[in-house]
Symmetry: C2
């Protein structure tokens, strides 16, 4: 396994859908989250706001099966290539990148977030 | 324009090829780099190691024409969707993500870096 460069114990992870090839989200992982991802086959991250490891989908059921993990030339960034259950974004859009920088929405909601999340702030 | 959240003045930028849909690289931008990108149509970033703005391709000629800029739900990460001239990675691979976490190379070099970069460390 390649020796990764962490910054404050964390490394950014870009998540890409293997089917649509859309960029779904960007999150952060620590060493333990990467180990859990490799051991279980499901995407785990480290929440900077909640200061804990989280498994994507633990509340929403929108798990990410990780098909392959890529690393960049500088060894300080990862790509998780995933099969996404449901939708990646807590807003209900398939991808967190559902708007242009000018604010135009370029996507359609896949689910109603009110009906999926009991606590809206819990899975971000 | 959406009000972005910068961390230490920077925001991560994921770069995606509009044709192959590959994730090409991850870099950082400050407000000025984003403004230059919007004004010129070519990707600009902020180098954390050199502490200055850089235009991708300024030395290699491998410019990135930015077709669209997306922002995520948290407004703390961008995607530049680009038409990539040449190859994105200074190693000569089309994408910086040319290896799996186990070190297997999953891509082929598009150019010889020795012949493109006079100073190998200059465009990273």
């Amino acid at each position: 396994m390649i020796q990764l460069k962490f910054r404050d114990g964390l490394i950014p992870v870009v998540v890409q859908d293997t089917k649509t090839r859309d960029i779904l989200m960007v999150a952060y992982a620590n060493e333990e989250a990467i180990e859990l991802t490799r051991a279980t086959g499901f995407a785990h991250y480290y929440s900077r706001s909640r200061n804990k490891i989280w498994k994507k989908g633990e509340e929403s059921g929108h798990f990410q099966h990780v098909v392959q993990i890529l690393v960049d030339c500088d060894e300080d960034c990862l790509v998780y290539q995933v099969e996404q259950a449901g939708a990646a974004c807590h807003t209900g859009y398939p991808s967190c990148f559902y708007r242009t920088l000018d604010g135009a929405v370029i996507s359609e909601r896949a689910f109603d977030p009110e009906s999926v999340y009991k606590n809206k702030s819990s899975e971000k």
